[in-house]
Amino acid sequence: MTDHAETIARRNRRRFFYALLTFAAYLVFAAQYLPVMSFMGEAIAGFEPVTYAIGWFCFLIVLFVTLEWRFIRTREGEDEHV
């Protein structure tokens, strides 16, 4: 493998890792609608229903933005060494 090919392969692995992580978190939200997953609401019964409703949404927004920030920092770190 050439240096370029190795760099591209490494970056692509990272890209798809972050993309799949995001998609998986997104699917967890959808999973609440599966009848077999109804325990999710009960499992978090320690929370107030209000916290459950808003908390899910806020958690995912913050998670996604944090992942984006980490991705950008990693890529910019690489660019500085080019």
Binding site: I8, F16, Y26, F29, A30, Y52, A53, I61, F64
Partner: protein, 520 residues
């Protein structure tokens, strides 16, 4: 609501005056195709991120999602989260690679390694289909909104929107469009921030107390805090979420914005800033939408006999602004809602002009060697035609249920543009034949299944039962498009298929390292 809100009118007139001045300024800087389509690539990351947010946070996001949260509670989050979740994927998979390929439209990227003529024609048809569907939804929404807020006749509202957009785009191109979108994004974020703060202040910044008031006031009580109030079908939820997430990755007017910055560093930053603004916006929309029940049900005079404000659930945010901030805030929010439509239609118009003048005329008809003056002339003519079409479509579809029209662009984008882009950037095996057959399959299945689904077959055409049970069929049409692209490509042994595969390495190097390093 039929009375004219003088605050709304004066704020909107100020917005129009400012944006027309910007168009005059931008027109002096827009002399060639590059400046028209991409503002010469001179937009900064922060400016572009704000403009992307302004382009994406449409009236459907602002008025529609807050109305869904008010009506159904928790299930409205599906649309809010769906609209946001595409952006991280845009950053990881597309932003820097698309920017490094350094052209004007997503069609340029797809056709770079595949046979130019076939790919461009198909991708342009897809772009124009998406733009027209989006345009219809925006124009009908604009007409209804302006009639309700400003007391103007429906047709006059359409003419005002079309004239303003034609002036912005025909004279100022992408530079004027960018600044219209930036100003609108800032105004929209200010508006929702004030609403959020006033709502939180009304409960001494105790969010659970604010929500509890909504739970008590809403006819469905605690059910609004849990999944299942709008739909309990997990397949329906999943197919909406797939359409929203992957549709975002295929919207041509949004992808086009990635070419307006100077390099991949700014492209990454653009998407990150856009994500931040869009995420912040939706957090506030969730607070506004959930809290609306507590405020509006406590003042029954604001609601009609059906439990919705005049103009339906889409007017929840506007009526709520009046309830918590008086005429001034209601006028501000109304003006921002109208400005929102102008900004989105301007972005769509630039995209349509690029598809016709650049993709079809310059690259297909002139084989990449157009007369620059003629191309610029054609962009302006296309802009004018889009403006006239927007008025015509707005009148034609006035009485139609526009909900299905608004859903279709996301499904088509997820089923045609997204597979084409992803496979052309990441899969060596994609061939022109595979891309063409896959894209046509995605386009026909997306439109066909939407027509035979509940929103058109039952709600519009009046049949008793739909032939296909789900709205937003992207869960089925997107994998179908991928599968067809794959099957046709791997069985393609034509001479052209070898060229397509051989071109992949050069495209990958260029998309990863830019023109200079790839050519070195």
């Amino acid at each position: 609501m039929s009375e004219i809100n003088s605050t709304a009118v004066s704020l909107f007139v100020s917005f129009v005056a400012l944006t027309l001045f910007l168009s005059y300024w931008a027109a002096r800087k827009t002399r060639n195709s590059s400046e028209f389509y991409t503002a010469g690539g001179n937009i900064t990351g922060l400016q572009n991120g704000t403009a992307i947010a302004g382009d994406f946070m449409s009236a459907a996001s602002f008025l529609g999602v807050s109305g869904l949260l008010f009506t159904f509670g928790y299930d409205g989050l599906i649309f809010g989260l769906g609209a946001f979740a595409g952006w991280p994927l845009m950053l990881y998979l597309f932003a820097e690679r698309i920017r490094n390929l350094g052209r004007y439209t997503f069609t340029d990227v797809v056709s770079m390694r595949l046979e130019n003529r076939t790919t461009r024609i198909i991708a342009s048809i897809s772009t124009i289909t998406i733009v027209v569907m989006y345009l219809i939804a925006q124009m009908v929404g604009a007409g209804s909104l302006v009639t309700l807020l400003f007391g103007l006749p429906y047709n006059l509202a359409l003419v005002i929107v079309a004239i303003l957009v034609v002036i912005y785009v025909a004279f100022g191109g992408m530079l004027a469009t960018t600044w219209v979108q930036i100003i609108k994004a800032v105004l929209l974020l200010i508006g929702v921030s004030i609403m959020g703060l006033l709502l939180l202040n009304s409960s001494d910044f105790d969010l659970p107390a604010l929500m509890s008031a909504s739970v008590e006031a809403h006819p469905d009580n605690e059910a609004i805090l849990a999944p299942g109030n709008m739909t309990r079908d997990p397949i329906q939820v999943l197919t909406i979420m797939i359409a929203m997430m992957f549709g975002t990755l295929g919207l041509p007017h949004v992808l086009m914005r990635l070419f307006t910055v100077k390099d991949m560093h700014d492209a990454r930053r653009s998407v990150f800033y856009a994500s931040g603004f869009i995420g912040y916006f939706y957090l506030l929309i969730v607070i506004i939408g959930f809290s609306a029940a507590g405020v509006l049900y406590a003042q029954p005079e604001l609601l009609g006999p059906n439990g919705q404000p005049a103009g339906g659930s889409n007017m929840v945010a506007v009526v709520l602004a009046g309830a918590v901030g008086g005429d001034l805030l209601m006028g501000f929010v109304s003006a921002v809602a109208f400005a929102t439509i102008l900004a989105v239609v301007a972005g769509l118009t630039v995209s349509a002009a690029a598809a016709v003048a650049h993709d079809l005329y310059a690259q297909v008809i002139c084989d990449g060697n157009p007369d620059p003056k003629r191309e610029m002339w054609l962009t302006r003519v296309t802009t004018l035609v889009v403006g006239l079409l927007a008025i015509a479509f707005g009148i034609l579809f006035e009485k139609q249920n526009i909900a299905y029209i608004a859903t279709m662009p996301m499904v088509v984008a997820a089923s045609v543009n997204f597979p084409l882009l992803l496979l052309s950037l990441y899969w060596k095996g994609l061939t022109t034949r595979g891309a063409a057959v896959g894209a046509v399959t995605g386009l026909i299945s997306a439109i066909g299944l939407t027509i035979v689904g509940p929103q058109v077959w039952v709600a519009v055409l009046g049949f008793e039962k739909p032939l296909f049970p789900y709205n937003y069929p992207a869960l089925f049409t997107m994998p179908l498009a991928f599968a067809v692209c794959w099957i046709v490509s791997v069985t393609d042994t034509s001479a052209r298929s070898r060229i397509d595969r051989d071109n992949f390495i050069a495209l990958q190097e260029r998309s990863e390292f830019g023109v200079r390093r790839a050519d070195a």
